[in-house]
């Protein structure tokens, strides 16, 4: 029996089902009414008003088209133009308007030069054409003569159009590639990204987008805001005339810290040699020169690089596509001895009085292995000054082992090693500042004392980029002030110029300010003392410079082998390095030079650095020492 005392709601399933059927029928009635109203309206549009709309469709000659904004220009610090927009004429054909394509091509061939590849590419494009009545480019970059000849004969060539387009042009070609980068055609991936960021509408009508360097980093500033125009079109959908327009807002111009003359100087100084030159304005780390050799002509990419040319760039053994200044990972070698010396002073492991006996090699207690000095007969008694001036290895083997890797790692990270410098291009690697954790994560191996020995002379697992080296030297020169290197000096539009403030990072705090002075004096000795490793390159300079040479081993040399440049294949020869700044007491410029596989840093890299400094002090008014 059911318990009637408690009120239990009894479900009448049949009644519920019937209720549902009634409601469904009601819904169906509403559905049919709505469909009726739709059909009624469509009948009105398609039958009652058919004539009206038919006429409007036939006469539909007004289209709204996007107008791409002009891309901002890029200047160097003295207003010389590094990236401009110049008109290019291209020969376009609308295949649907042509009766006999082969005949037309033959006709054009009689007027201008057409090579087989161009014709093949064109036919491929026509076959893959996505949309009817869309022009397909036969030949881009027409010469002036070709443009003239074709224009005169255009009335005879149905379906042929000559289009003028603004394209990016880099007048300094390979000189600016690694800093400025380039723009190229928007590809599917770019389009997807724009869609994701909700910028697609702004890029309607835009063909190119920044792919590398400053062009990519400052894409948003450079691009501007799209405009619209109302145009009258013919029955094929091609615009005949403009009726009204809402003009686009051009992108902002960029003024860079770069000095194109200094850039040229760096290229000339490197000559045929592979390497990188970085020059920073030591007062704020504005990038005066950023040159990676060899380079390539970015204009090739703007017009769509041919697969042949691209393959040549990829296969080139000198690897021109790599931006050595920010992507090259080089062992810093002796260039980081000043930094390590500073840490030794800070930790009170050494003083200016501390001397070490260098017999030409170093041994960890109880281990047979001999770590050699570059001077096989040894430097004798060495203090911190001589250790930097003459680049004594044994002094630093000893110091590094006494410091221990943890302290070295922490301190060097403050100089920016092992981290992105924050320069305003995306092509950058953080290289490697090794540490106990890093080695375990990478190799599942503990950190050995022997690893630390190599770190003492900037070898082993430690790698740096030339830009990191230049930045770290600027930090030394400025006694701990740390600015991120910047290519962009200011932005500019019709309302005026807006300087870009330098971006600083936490400064390095020292226990004794005097320690900076000790290291700087030692670095001054490198170029000014007769025994200094950079002295020869800097003989007779009119300003006080400070620096440090470095000669990086690219391969390990066996215990009893001598390094003999002549006997070793070129790619295994030492990298020459030099870092420096000037003037010593009021630093204005910081330089880093790396030249691959040429041998000693004092002999090969230091002269390049001097060339850059000489130019600076000869040409920059404010900079007279």
């Amino acid at each position: 029996m059911l318990n009637w005392r408690k009120r239990v709601a009894i479900r009448d399933h049949l009644a519920e089902a019937n209720l549902f059927v009634r409601r469904t029928i009601a819904a169906l009635v509403v559905v049919l009414i709505l469909v009726g109203s739709l059909v009624n309206n469509l009948y009105y549009l398609q039958v009652d008003k058919y004539q009206d709309y038919q006429t409007r469709a036939d006469g539909n000659r007004i289209k709204v088209q996007p107008v791409a904004p002009n891309r901002g220009l890029i200047y160097d610090r003295f207003g010389r133009i590094l990236a401009e927009n110049s008109p290019f004429y291209s020969l376009d054909i609308v295949p649907e308007e042509v009766d006999d394509l082969e005949k037309l091509l033959a006709q054009i061939h009689q007027l201008i030069e057409l090579d087989q590849d161009t014709v093949e590419d064109f036919k491929k494009d026509v076959a893959q054409q996505r949309r009817k009545f869309k022009p397909v480019t036969l030949k881009s970059q027409l010469t002036e003569t070709e443009t003239a000849i074709l224009s005169v004969n255009q009335h005879k060539l149905g379906g042929v159009y000559i289009e003028a387009r603004l394209k990016r042009y880099y007048p300094y070609k390979d000189l600016t590639t690694h800093a400025i980068g380039y723009v190229a055609k928007i590809n599917q991936r770019d389009a997807d990204n724009l869609e994701l960021e909700g910028k697609s509408a702004n890029y309607e009508g835009t063909f190119d987008i920044g792919k590398q360097g400053v062009e990519k980093y400052y894409e948003e500033l450079l691009h501007g805001q799209v405009g619209y125009q109302e145009v009258e079109v013919n029955n094929r959908g091609r615009p005949i005339r403009t009726l009204s327009q809402q003009p686009p807002v051009p992108g902002q111009d960029l003024i860079l810290n770069l000095d194109i003359d200094m850039q040229q100087l760096a290229k000339d100084a490197l000559g045929e040699r592979r390497g990188a030159v970085v020059v920073l304005d030591a007062k704020n780390n504005g990038v005066l020169a950023l040159y990676s050799n060899p380079s390539y002509d970015p204009n090739m990419f703007v017009h769509g690089i041919s697969s042949k040319n691209y393959k040549a760039l990829l296969d080139n053994k000198s690897r021109p596509l790599i931006n050595r200044t920010t992507q090259g990972r080089y062992p810093p070698a002796s260039t980081i001895k000043p930094h390590l010396g500073l840490l030794g002073l800070e930790e009170n492991l050494i003083t200016t009085k501390t001397r070490i006996w260098d017999p030409g090699y170093y041994q960890i207690k109880g281990i047979e292995h001999k770590y050699r000095d570059w001077k096989s007969w040894g430097h004798g008694w060495v203090d911190i000054y001589r250790a930097i001036e003459e680049s004594c290895d044994v002094y630093y083997y000893d110091l590094a082992v006494r410091l221990g890797m943890d302290k070295i790692s922490d301190f060097m990270t403050q100089f920016g090693f092992g981290e992105l410098t924050g320069i305003d291009i995306y092509e950058e690697t953080s290289a490697t500042m090794p540490s106990r954790e890093w080695k375990y994560g990478r190799f599942r191996q503990p950190w050995y004392a022997g690893d630390t020995v190599s770190i003492g002379i900037g070898q082993g697992y430690w790698t740096t980029t030339p830009l990191q080296l230049a930045t770290s030297v600027s930090v030394l020169a400025n006694e701990g002030m740390h600015y991120e290197p910047r290519l962009l000096k200011a932005t500019q539009n019709e309302t005026g110029t807006l300087p870009v403030p330098p971006q600083d990072r936490p400064p390095i705090q020292v226990k004794s300010e005097n320690n900076w002075q000790i290291i700087k004096t030692a670095m001054q000795g490198v170029v000014e003392k007769p025994t200094g490793s950079g002295h020869k390159a800097y003989s007779g300079v009119e300003y006080h410079a400070a620096g440090k040479t470095g000669t990086a081993q690219v391969i390990n040399i066996a215990q009893d082998e001598e390094y003999d440049a002549d006997k070793i294949a070129e790619k295994y020869r030492d990298n020459a390095m030099f870092v420096g700044f000037a003037p010593v007491d009021n630093p204005q410029i910081a330089v880093a030079v790396v030249i691959e596989n040429v041998g000693g840093g004092g002999k090969n890299a230091a002269p390049v650095a001097r060339t850059m400094m000489d130019y600076y002090f000869a040409n920059y008014q404010e900079a007279k020492p």
Partner: protein
């Protein structure tokens, strides 16, 4: 009855596919492919991508159909709570696209929680209403209403007005089908203008207000927002009774129409196939709606009935809103034409919905005599 026929029915029953419904869906998708091909300027890439998406969606539908309705009933509340949580997440740290926050990044991929809610809301409402005998008491219905308002406001806030209204209607359909008193429905209809005014002042963004204003008078802004509607009406009107023929529509082929292969695909269809084609297309849609209604009426319990009915009616609303907007009797809210428009995550959700219908239609409890 021969054993042969009995077995045939059993196979479809066993894999939980409702054949009449599947036939309708496939016909519709095929029509869609033809129009996309035309609207995109004969772009095979797009066709291949649409086919892939269709394949995935059918897979999802098949999977969803294998799960018995009782499962959805059991998981209604957790699904709803997770969905609402994700909506709050979107508002707090969603990814911005096209001026609105609609996606949330969960590491591997981005998800659009409003898509989940398209199914979670009707499932939740059907579960909630079916707990008590029908028709529901007025006080109980008010609680149901609250369950609808919460996600609706969260989505409207993204802002995604179109989707929020569609989700609200999917919940309201459950209330309607459950036998909500006509008096209350009448009151609701009267209150609508007031709600509309409130939305206008508190929730609508300028661009949404603009859409409504241009909708009321498209010719007022022929260069901007009104341009779309005007071009669309020209396309439809110039199609006439018989249409201009496949691939022959000037409005679409010469690119006067915006969003040709997505939201405005119905304009392309109307231009090329005319009123006759439209009547054919509408017949397919009505056929699917009728089949959905049959499934819901034949369902075995209140939850299944309400859910199936709501999914079916919501599907119709999509069709109506899209056709209404491109032909100028409704504002442009950005709703695709179901199964015909190119792309969209919405297709997967839609097919999942049909998967639930198939589950309800084929997974019947067997009562022993």
């Amino acid at each position: 009855m021969s054993a042969e026929v009995g077995r045939k029915i059993n196979i479809w029953q066993k894999i939980h596919i409702d054949r009449p419904l599947l036939a309708g869906l496939l016909t519709l998708s095929t029509v869609g492919l033809f129009i996309i091909f035309s609207a995109s300027g004969q772009d095979w890439d797009l066709i291949i991508r649409q086919l892939t998406r269709l394949g995935v969606s059918l897979g999802v539908m098949f999977f969803v159909a294998q799960i018995p309705p009782s499962f959805y009933q059991r998981w209604a509340v957790p699904l709803f709570i997770v969905g609402c949580g994700l909506l709050v997440g979107v508002l707090l740290f969603g990814v911005i696209g096209k001026g609105a926050r609609r996606w949330i990044d969960i590491g591997i991929t981005r998800i659009q929680p409003s898509e989940i809610m398209k199914l979670a809301v009707p499932i939740m409402l059907a579960w909630f209403i079916a707990r008590k005998p029908l028709p529901p008491k007025i006080s109980y219905s008010v609680w149901g209403l609250a369950l609808i308002v919460l996600p609706t406001l969260l989505i409207a806030k993204q802002p995604d007005l179109g989707t929020s209204l569609l989700i609200a209607s999917s919940g309201l359909f459950v209330l309607f089908l459950s036998g909500l008193s006509w008096r209350l429905i009448g009151g609701f209809v009267v209150a609508m203008p007031a709600v509309g005014a409130a939305l206008w002042y508190f929730y609508m963004h300028d661009y949404q207000k603009n859409r409504v204003l241009t909708f009321l008078n498209p010719e007022s802004d022929p260069l901007g927002a009104g341009y779309h509607i005007i071009q669309s009406k020209i396309a439809i009107g110039s199609g006439g009774i018989w249409g201009k023929g496949w691939l022959q529509g000037t409005q679409s082929q010469l690119e006067f129409l915006p969003e040709r292969h997505t939201d405005f695909i119905f304009s392309v269809f109307s231009e090329e196939f005319g009123l006759v084609g439209i009547l054919g297309l509408l017949s397919i849609y009505i056929y699917i709606v009728l089949r959905g209604m049959v499934i819901s009426v034949r369902a075995q319990d209140a939850f299944s009935r309400l859910l199936a009915g709501s999914i079916t009616l919501t599907f119709f609303v999509y069709v109506f809103v899209n056709m209404g907007m491109v032909s100028g009797i409704l504002p442009v809210v950005g709703v695709p034409l179901p199964l015909v428009s190119y792309g969209g995550t919405s297709m997967i959700t839609l097919m999942a919905g049909f998967g639930i219908l198939m589950s309800i239609s084929t997974q019947r409890k067997v009562f022993s005599g």
